[in-house]
C-alpha cells in the first residue's frame, strides 16, 4: 500500500491517511481481507508519530472500514457497507452539507455542483473497472 502524507499542509495528517485508505478501497485497490501495515511500520515508513497512525486506524475502525483482530493485525473489513443504510447516510451527510455550502459560496449553480460530484463518481468507477480487469488477467 502506498500512502503519502504531507505534514506541511493544513490538513491533519491522520485525516490524510484516512482519506487515502478509503480512496484505495473505493477504487478497488484494497479489497476486504487485505492486511494493512502495522501502526509502527507505517509510522516509521512515513516518519510520523505512531499516535497519528493509531488515531487514523481507530477512526477507520470506528467507521467500519478496517478491523483489528486479536494479536493486533489490521485488515480491510469484510463488508464496509454492512451498516444500516440510514447510518451510512448519516455519516455522509456532513460532506454533502459541506459540498452544498462551499459550492453555493463559490456561486456555482446546483447543476454544476451535481455534475462535479458525478464526475468524481465516474472517475472512481473507471479506476475500479481497471483494477477488475487486472484481477481477471491475473487469474
Amino acid at each position: 500500500m502506498l500512502l503519502h502524507v504531507n505534514p506541511a499542509s493544513g490538513v491533519p495528517t491522520y485525516l490524510q491517511i484516512e482519506t487515502q485508505v478509503k480512496h484505495y478501497i473505493a477504487a478497488g485497490a484494497l479489497v476486504p481481507g487485505d492486511a494493512l501495515p502495522s501502526v509502527r511500520k507505517l509510522a516509521a515508513d512515513l516518519r510520523i508519530s505512531t499516535n497519528t497512525v493509531a488515531r487514523a486506524y481507530q477512526n477507520l475502525e470506528r467507521d467500519g472500514v478496517l478491523r483489528t483482530v486479536p494479536g493486533g493485525r489490521t485488515y480491510v473489513a469484510e463488508n464496509p457497507g454492512s451498516f444500516l443504510k440510514s447510518e451510512r447516510i448519516r455519516r455522509l451527510r456532513p460532506y454533502a452539507t459541506q459540498i452544498a455550502v462551499e459550492g453555493t459560496q463559490l456561486r456555482l449553480e446546483p447543476r454544476e455542483i451535481m455534475e462535479l460530484v458525478q464526475q468524481e463518481l465516474d472517475a472512481l468507477e473507471e479506476v475500479n473497472e481497471r483494477y477488475g480487469d487486472l484481477d481477471r488477467k491475473a487469474r
Binding site: A8, R40, S49, T50, Q105
Partner: protein, 312 residues
C-alpha cells in the same frame, strides 16, 4: 504528583535584566512527540535547564515523569536522556570510550542499541571526539541518548549539522524505537519542518510565555485564516479570533475554531468573505510570534493567554 511526562506551573526564571521564562505552564502528555517551538532566545533552553536541574527556577513548580524538579532530581536524570544544544564532551575520548564512561549511569542502558545506532549513523567510534565534524558530534550525542532507553528523551535543537539523510534516519528511529515503545520525546527547535513531520503535540513559546499548546492535528483541523475584502470592518469581540492582520485591501482573521460560523457572522454584517483557508504550522508560528500589522479597526492582535484546545 501527576501523570504528565513534563508538567510546569507558572514557571519563572529571571536572569539579570531578563525574564527568560515568564509564567510558563506546560502539559506534556506521556507517550507523545512534543515539539517545543520558539524563536532563538524565546526561553526554550532556559526551560529545559530548569527541568534537568541545571538552573533553579525563580518561581513556579515543575515535575518530570511525576518526579518533582529540584527535590527528586536524581530520579529524573536516571529516566531522562538529554541532547543539549552545545555539544561539548570530553574531547580526548573517542565515542567508544564515551560509551564506556556513560553507560554506568543509566539503569536501562542497552549495548545492543549502541551497536545498532553507531552503524546506522556511521559514527567513527575510534576517533577522538574533538576531531569529529559537527555532524558527527551530534550523532555521538544522539547515540548516547538513545542507548539510555530513557522514558523521556529531551532534544534541544537536535538537527545541528546533520545532513538530510541522517535526519531522516533519526526520525525513523524516534518513531520506531522511542514513540512506538510508548516513550516520550520532547524536541525543542525552530526547525519547523522536522517537528511538524513527527510531532503529535506542539507548544509554542515566545518571550518566555506559552502562546499555544495543543495537538498538532487539532490545530490543523480548527485553525483558519478568514480573509475578508476591505479594510474598515466592525470590531469583533469573538473569543475565537486570535488576531487580525491587514494585507493590502484585505483583512485576515486568525480564528482558532468554528471558522465557518465566524465567516457566516461576518457575511451577515455585510462583509465579503473572500476565503476561509487552513494553515500549516509555519504560518501559525509566524502569525502568532510576529503579530502581524493589525487592521485599522477590529481588535488588535494581542494574545491575552495561551490557547489550549480541548482533548478530543
Amino acid at each position: 504528583m501527576n501523570d504528565m511526562a513534563i508538567w510546569t506551573e507558572k514557571l519563572v526564571k529571571v536572569y539579570p535584566g531578563v525574564r527568560a521564562v515568564d509564567g510558563l505552564s506546560l502539559n506534556v502528555p506521556r507517550g507523545v512527540a512534543y515539539g517545543f517551538l520558539g524563536r532563538n532566545g524565546a526561553g526554550k533552553t532556559s526551560t529545559i535547564r530548569i527541568l534537568l536541574g541545571l538552573a533553579r527556577p525563580t518561581e513556579g513548580r515543575a515535575t518530570v515523569l511525576g518526579f518533582s524538579v529540584g527535590r527528586e532530581q536524581v530520579a529524573i536524570l536516571e529516566r531522562t536522556a538529554f541532547v543539549s544544544e552545545s555539544k561539548t564532551l570530553y574531547g580526548d575520548l573517542t565515542p567508544r570510550e564515551l560509551v564506556r564512561f556513560t553507560r554506568g549511569f543509566y539503569p536501562n542502558w542497552s549495548d545492543q542499541a549502541v551497536t545498532k545506532y553507531s552503524r546506522l549513523f556511521e559514527i567513527p567510534m575510534d576517533r577522538p571526539f574533538a576531531k569529529l565534524s559537527q555532524g558527527n558530534r551530534t550523532k555521538v550525542y544522539l547515540l548516547l541518548a538513545l542507548s539510555q532507553r530513557a522514558d523521556l528523551l529531551v532534544l534541544d535543537e537536535p538537527g545541528m549539522g546533520l545532513d538530510p539523510v541522517v535526519v531522516d534516519e533519526f526520525l525513523r528511529v524516534l518513531v520506531e524505537d522511542v514513540i512506538g515503545e510508548g516513550r516520550t520525546v520532547f524536541i525543542s527547535s525552530h526547525q519547523l519542518a522536522d517537528v511538524e513531520q513527527i510531532a503529535d503535540w506542539v507548544g509554542l513559546i515566545d518571550h518566555g510565555r506559552l502562546l499555544l499548546e495543543a495537538r498538532l492535528d487539532d490545530i490543523k483541523s480548527q485553525f483558519r485564516w478568514v480573509t475578508v475584502a476591505g479594510n474598515a470592518l466592525p470590531p469583533t469581540k469573538s473569543p475565537e479570533v486570535l488576531l487580525v492582520a491587514s494585507e493590502g485591501d484585505f483583512c485576515k482573521y486568525l480564528v482558532k475554531k468554528d471558522a465557518e460560523a465566524f465567516a457566516a457572522e461576518l457575511s451577515g454584517q455585510g462583509a465579503t468573505v473572500a476565503q476561509v483557508s487552513p494553515l500549516g504550522l509555519r504560518e501559525i508560528f509566524l502569525a502568532l510570534v510576529r503579530k502581524e500589522e493589525p487592521c485599522t479597526s477590529g481588535n488588535v492582535g494581542e494574545i491575552a493567554e495561551a490557547v489550549s484546545l480541548p482533548l478530543s
